[in-house]
């Protein structure tokens, strides 16, 4: 089973890279862009048939390793 996880900085934490991308897009003429937040995308293949169980494991992984819960949020998507 494949599950993806996206880790982004929390709303209130300054995201310098996102800000720079946002500014660059404006410089390129994309004036309708409001904001950009940059994050990390993980594609995880897991040997687990039960969807709920797999999600739980990925959630644990996100909390323990992939994100720093103090400054980052994560979302998990099942494919």
């Amino acid at each position: 089973m494949k599950i993806s996880a996206i880790v982004t900085l929390k709303k209130d934490v300054l995201d310098p890279q996102g800000k720079v991308v946002n500014q660059t897009l404006k410089n390129m003429g994309y004036n309708n862009i409001i904001s950009v937040r940059q994050g990390k995308h993980f594609e995880i293949e897991i040997n687990e048939a039960d969807k709920e169980k797999a999600k739980k494991i990925i959630e644990e992984i996100c909390k323990k390793l992939l994100s720093n819960v103090v400054i980052e949020d994560f979302t998990i998507n099942h494919k």
Binding site: V13, L14, P16, K40, L65, L66, N68
Partner: protein, 227 residues
């Protein structure tokens, strides 16, 4: 006094700290991150560098390496741990020190000398700074912007757990003497028992007049004095 320097793939200040420790007659051993057993040590040093290429987050992968369990146990038993630069980031990722280190406010890798005020000398790392509490040390980092919420900042202040703050030449702690945007100009903090110190500046780089200064020496002299 015996020390162990933990070497990770990507550490690049491990030799510098080893030279510094040996200069102050601290018997040092280099320990590879993949080892499981930490030899009996009074002091464990997590050196600066870019452990595991800063993958995921600075210090993150190193904080899960095999040797770290023993390092955490050593710290919990009251053993001394010093984390410099990437070592500080690793200490934060292991949870041995609170807060978080964000990217420098101005998004630049900083490599320069800064002035620091030693804001607590009542600990085993800084006792020798009583006579001279405004010092100059180099910094070299990209993620050194220490962030803590108000509750944690108050806790650090109330318990005198902030060891170093960025200041100007005269010791004024102001916004324009803050190189990376750290909360309250914090450059180094300790845990509640004060046996674990994490700091962004590099004391091991200024331990000899030939290296243009000795402001780092007092930290090692303090450690020797603590035994």
């Amino acid at each position: 006094m015996k020390s162990s320097v933990i070497v990770f793939p990507g550490s690049n200040c491990d030799r510098d700290i080893a030279v510094a420790l040996e200069k102050f007659k601290i018997k040092n051993e280099m320990i590879w991150h993949d080892d499981v057993n930490l030899p009996k040590s009074d002091l464990v040093v997590l050196p600066g560098g870019f452990s595991y290429g800063d993958y995921l987050r600075s210090g993150c992968i190193a904080s899960k390496s095999k040797i770290i369990n023993d390092v955490i146990q050593h710290g919990k038993k009251g053993g001394l741990i010093l984390g410099i630069c990437n070592g500080f980031q690793i200490l934060i990722e292991t949870g041995l020190l609170p807060g978080v280190l964000l990217r420098n406010k101005k998004l630049r890798f900083l490599s320069k000398n800064v002035f620091l005020k030693v804001t607590d000398t009542n600990n085993k790392f800084c006792s020798k700074y009583k006579k001279k509490n405004i010092i100059e040390l180099p910094i070299a980092h990209n993620e050194g912007n220490y962030f803590a919420n108000n509750e944690l900042l108050k806790n650090l202040d109330d318990n005198n757990l902030i060891a170093f703050k960025y200041c100007d030449k005269k010791g004024n702690i102001k916004d324009n003497s803050n190189p990376n945007g750290s909360s309250n100009n914090i450059a180094g903090i300790m845990n509640i028992k004060k046996n674990i110190l994490g700091m962004m500046p590099h004391p091991e780089r200024l331990i000899d007049p030939i290296l243009s200064g000795e402001d780092g020496s007092m930290l090692f002299e303090s450690l020797l004095n603590s035994k």
